[in-house]
């Protein structure tokens, strides 16, 4: 028994070491500066926690007794600590011996090593690591292992009081967003020096965590009055965010919420109706370009010539931002119907390929119709939104507009989800033939999914154009579709709060991690793969999607009322309830 605990500890330690090595290699310690070692230790503690609690099932959590768990944790920490120390010492020796490893491992710099040890870079270059340095490193990681084990025990004791009826964990979840919001506001006051040069980044991260935790809090709250009061308080907190964040933070949040708008639209097409659309960027592009035509007709040679020949002055915006909203949305919605008609009969992979092509066609059209769209030179001087003569084009106001837009779209999506149409979408996703035989008009239902999804993307596109003021075909590549689809999947398909969370994780985090930007794609690829294995339903799944992918969650099935020789109660769900 003890041997097995140690073995398991060694295994977990090795995994943690591999992750740590990756983080060191991409230069995270340098980014973190003086707090590198404690932050990495904290991160490792979290890794240990996840590894020790042993997978997805609640049973695994309950199975382990404290002593072996602590042993496993300590072993894991010790192992990862020793390995890390050996790795760093090895690199330091190589550097001291004059071997230039940098061309091969581009972020292995003395600074990086020094940050981990809390010493001057010169000491690393000279191979003079302080004798206590590695001990401290090992000790800290061992502590992380023990902390990981303690976290498992803590989680277990918290879970014993159930989630739904006022357990401690539930209250923690509800209070957390407010704590984070307070932290964000506190970080903004001039006297605070926490985080040093990276204070802004820390603040942005905390703001995103606050929004993310707010979504979990809403889910933890009891339905009815408690949830409504909480939602109101959270909205007030959220509304305050744009006024306390600085320009850069607001502009990051602006783009995050523009993607939330997009994600909510795509969520209808993919999450609700189950139609895999890889060309979703087309509607975003249509929205952006139509708004550009309307607000900067002079930028397009052909369009301005047409207007002049009609006697309409082309040197000023045709309509205001607000009047343009229904026009761009309708144009994008029409695009949705136009895409929808030819793909009505396609399913699955075939549908994905055709929509992928559609997205590219729109981009190539923008690129090559240079009379109309100015080709790769783009449309310049798109008008920002104005309200009573006040320019709303700054990052803060764009963030506010994106918040409002996302709010309206989320509300509409939520209402649709519970409607006759929403039920038809889900029925169609589950079994198209039976849905039709049950009375769902497939043509109408599919086209409505494409059109409504496109409407929302069009609105997002318009706001995007107003934010950028200059738009180019390159803004609308396949990657926008892929990013949007990824955020829907990561958040949890079919889940409205999941979209917000996915956008924060996929569009917001990379901004926080600017320093390791070039490794972003690799990191996200790994993240996606791990997530699909550990949590295929997404971070914050809709209850329905969770039911589809996990057996637990639904009420346990009772034996059939009339089953007469007593059969094992679960014999039918064994084969019927497959993953």
């Amino acid at each position: 028994m003890r041997l097995r605990s140690v073995q398991r500890g060694l295994r977990i330690g090795a995994i943690a070491f591999a992750i740590l090595t990756y983080l060191i290699l991409i230069g995270l310690p340098t980014r973190l500066g003086s707090v590198a070692t404690p932050v990495l230790a904290l991160l490792t503690a979290l890794i240990f926690w996840v590894a020790l609690r042993g997978g997805k099932s609640k049973r695994a959590l309950a199975d382990q007794s404290p002593a072996p768990l602590a042993l496993t944790g300590a072993t894991a920490g010790l192992a990862s600590g020793l390995l890390t120390a050996a790795l760093i010492a090895g690199f330091a020796r190589l550097l001291a011996a004059g071997v230039n490893v940098q061309p091969y491992l581009d972020k292995i710099v003395p600074l990086n090593m020094a940050a981990l040890y809390g010493v001057m870079p010169g000491a690393v270059m000279a191979g003079e690591l302080p004798g206590g340095g590695w001990l401290w490193q090992v000790g800290l990681l061992t502590l992380a292992g023990v902390v990981g084990a303690l976290l498992v025990l803590l989680e277990r004791s918290l879970r014993q009081r159930t989630w739904s009826t006022g357990g401690a964990l539930r209250w923690l979840t509800i209070v957390l967003p407010f704590v984070l919001l307070a932290f964000v506001i506190w970080l903004g006051s001039p006297g605070v020096t926490l985080g040093g040069n990276n204070r802004g980044t820390l603040r942005l991260l905390a703001a995103m965590a606050a929004i993310g935790s707010a979504l979990f809090a809403l889910r933890a709250a009891q339905r009815g009055r408690e949830q409504r009061i909480l939602a109101l308080l959270l909205l007030i907190g959220l509304a305050y965010l744009p006024f306390t964040l600085d320009q850069f933070q607001n502009s990051v949040m602006g783009i995050v919420f523009i993607f939330v708008m997009m994600g909510l639209g795509l969520n209808i097409v993919v999450g609700f109706a189950g139609l895999l659309d890889l060309g979703y960027v087309a509607f975003f592009a249509i929205g952006a370009y139509v708004y550009a035509f309307l607000s900067a007709p002079f930028a397009s040679p052909a369009f301005s010539a047409l207007l002049t020949s009609l006697g309409v002055p082309a040197d000023a915006p045709l309509v205001s931002f607000w009047v343009a909203i229904p026009i761009t949305m309708l144009a994008a919605g029409l695009g949705g119907v136009l895409l929808g008609i030819p793909v009505l009969r396609l399913r699955g992979d075939y549908l994905a390929i055709v929509t992928l092509g559609f997205g590219e066609i729109i981009r190539l059209f923008m690129l090559n119709m240079s009379d109309l769209t100015n080709g790769p030179r783009g449309l310049l001087n798109v008008a920002p939104p104005y309200l009573f003569g006040y320019n709303l084009g700054n990052p803060r106001d764009i963030f506010i507009l994106a918040l409002l837009g996302a709010g309206v779209i989320a509300f509409a999506a939520y209402r649709l989800d519970g409607s006759r149409l929403g039920r038809a979408w889900i029925a169609m996703r589950e079994d198209e033939d039976v849905a039709q035989a049950t009375g769902v008009n497939l043509v109408q239902t599919k086209l409505l999914a494409f059109a409504i999804g496109a409407l929302f993307a069009g609105l997002a596109g318009q706001l995007y154009a107003a934010r950028q003021t200059n738009i180019f075909p390159d803004n609308f590549t396949l990657f926008v579709s892929v990013d949007t689809l990824s955020l829907v999947i990561v958040g949890g398909m079919g889940s409205i709060p999941g979209v917000v969370l996915g956008a924060l994780a996929l569009k917001g985090l990379p901004e926080v991690l600017r320093g390791i930007d070039e490794y972003r794609i690799v990191t996200f690829a790994a993240l996606l793969v791990i997530m699909m294995i550990v949590r295929p339903e997404g971070i914050l799944p809709s209850t329905r999607r969770r039911r589809e992918l996990h057996e637990e969650g639904g009420p346990a099935s009772e034996p059939a009322i009339t089953l007469e020789p007593a059969l094992p109660t679960d014999y039918r769900t064994l084969d019927g309830g497959k993953l």
């Binding site: 649709l416 849905a435 035989a437 049950t438 039911r547 059939a560 009339t562 089953l563």
Partner: protein, 260 residues
């Protein structure tokens, strides 16, 4: 005039005549069974009736209106609903949601109405949910409305399929092996339910069934298919004595009163 009249319906897959010129008439408020050995074309015939397949020849008249060429969702709107041989519920939806999807053709709410929760939409949704609960209670699933369809016991899933079909307020209900895989007690309950569908709701029933006890005790008329051809038709007692039927399908065991 019969409620449903199939005239020389033919369905061919490649070189195989799955259904060959089958005539069938179902009178209003009758319970008619369609029997035959495996592969006789019974389910194919059902699929032709409900628009999943388009028959190569023949016509299908429902209340005097031809159904050939209509889409399945248009056919169910005419008043003909069905269940499936291998249960095909919307597994991740709750029981009540399944019935609500069944009511789809009888509801009118629009997307805009849903977003703004117009009074009309709200009233319609409330009424629909009320009705769905009543239907669940009618088939014997009272109180199970909020259970996930997939988690329901097998017998209940069959009942839920019936409730879903009833959601469209059909005049004719096609049941594809409603008692398949059920034990004797569940089968009795199902037979009782089928009788109540006819007697209390006035629904005409056409069913495919292998369980001869069910067929013989509840049917007003029985039609027998074999290799896509109708080989016999009539009152259950006549059919069970028909030598061609015995040869094709029933066997001596049934004559002695046992299941096939």
């Amino acid at each position: 005039m019969a409620l449903l009249e199939a005239q020389a319906v033919t369905k061919i897959f490649g070189g195989l005549v799955a259904v060959g010129s089958v005539d069938l008439a179902v009178e209003e408020r009758a319970i008619v069974s369609l029997i035959g050995p495996n592969g006789a074309g019974k389910t194919t015939f059902f699929n032709c009736l409900t628009g999943l397949y388009r028959p190569e020849e023949g016509d299908i008249l429902f209340d005097g209106v031809s159904l050939v060429g209509l889409r399945p969702d248009q056919i169910i709107a005419q008043g003909m609903a069905r269940t499936y041989q291998n249960i095909r519920l919307f597994g991740s939806m709750t029981a009540i949601e399944n019935v609500l999807v069944g009511q789809h053709v009888r509801l009118r709410s629009t997307p805009l109405g849903a977003i703004f929760q117009s009074p009309g939409t709200r009233r319609e949704e409330q009424r629909a949910e009320q009705q769905a609960r009543e239907l669940l209670a009618f088939v014997g699933l009272a109180g199970k409305g909020d259970m996930i369809a997939r988690n329901l016991p097998y017998g209940d899933q069959r009942l839920l399929e019936v409730a879903r079909a009833l959601g469209s307020r059909p005049r004719l209900l096609l049941l594809d092996e409603p008692a398949a895989g059920m034990n004797p007690r569940e089968t009795d309950a199902m037979m009782e339910l089928i009788r109540r569908l006819r007697n209390e709701l006035g629904i005409t029933i056409l069913l495919i069934e292998h369980d001869m006890k069910v067929v013989m005790s509840i049917s007003d008329r029985v039609s027998v298919l074999d290799y896509g051809k109708k080989i016999a038709e009539g009152h259950p007692d006549e059919v069970r004595r028909d030598p061609r039927v015995i040869e094709a399908y029933l066997g001596a065991g049934v004559l002695a009163g046992h299941n096939a």
